[in-house]
């Protein structure tokens, strides 16, 4: 099914926003959880304390806000584009996550992981070349 040009433009724009806000949100969540520490005590009381500390963490709230913006862009794009198109196409965020994890959190990213992330992006490029909608319009 051929789509008008306007749909491609706004689809690419919103998927770009999804990639940026999604990856930034994940990196901020990792920053917050790193500050809180690894969850290792499964006692309900200890879990509640961790839960409480999680929701008093600035980076966690910034991460949630960023993911909320990601979610709004995601909802909008899903109203016209296929799920099986949007989900893989937004995977460019994986590259951003690895780069941000390396730059902002000082994570050690082995070369094999970089190659893996690039292969994921190659898959994304292939998926991006297919039409955004294959189902009939309601």
């Amino acid at each position: 099914m051929k789509l008008p040009h306007r749909l491609h433009g706004k689809t690419i724009c919103l998927i770009g926003l999804m990639a940026i806000f999604g990856s930034l949100g994940d990196v901020l969540l990792r920053k917050g959880m790193k500050q809180i520490g690894a969850v290792s005590n499964w006692h309900p009381e200890a879990l509640l304390t961790t839960f409480d500390r999680t929701f008093h963490s600035g980076p966690i709230w910034l991460g949630i806000s960023s993911l909320l913006l990601f979610f709004i862009a995601y909802l909008l794009v899903l109203s016209w584009a296929d799920y099986s198109y949007v989900q893989p196409a937004s995977a460019t965020g994986y590259l951003f996550v690895a780069v941000l994890g390396y730059l902002l959190l000082g994570e050690v990213v082995p070369w094999m992981r970089w190659i893996g992330v690039l292969v994921i992006c190659l898959g994304v490029l292939l998926v991006g070349g297919t039409p955004p909608r294959t189902t009939e319009e309601r």
Binding site: M33, R113, V119, I120, V124
Partner: protein, 124 residues
């Protein structure tokens, strides 16, 4: 990757993908968003939240979110997030069999490459 990591990854992937499929189902019923004025967007979002599927999807996504937080307390984000790309296989199958989308061969190749990439991330 430890067994504990694998178990939480499983919840993140199934919860996240199940939630996304339910949310997609809702948004397809709401219809294409044509206007981006705030009051029009708010109306669309309110309409979406009147659907039971939306709440079901959000519940699954919440479970997935807390599992992701647990994973992120143990492992680096540059490992956890790319590995969650395994949800693409589930997403493509879900799109095809649950939502009736036609997944072209080229998309399948793309999804397969995503899987290969995830494998390399795990090995790395």
């Amino acid at each position: 990757m430890t067994g504990r990591d694998a178990a939480f990854l499983f919840i993140v992937i199934f919860g996240g993908t199940g939630g996304e499929l339910a949310v997609t189902h809702t948004m397809k019923r709401v219809g294409e968003v044509q206007s981006f004025y705030p009051h029009h967007l708010l109306r669309v979002i309110l309409r979406a939240f009147r659907s039971g599927w939306m709440w079901f999807g959000l519940s699954l996504m919440t479970i997935s979110f807390f599992s992701l937080l647990m994973l992120l307390s143990w492992e680096n984000v540059s490992f956890v997030v790319p590995v969650t790309a395994l949800s693409y296989v589930l997403g493509a199958f879900g799109g095809k069999f649950l939502l009736g989308e036609r997944v072209e061969p080229r998309r399948w190749v793309g999804v397969a490459l995503v899987c290969l990439g995830v494998l390399l991330v795990c090995v790395g």
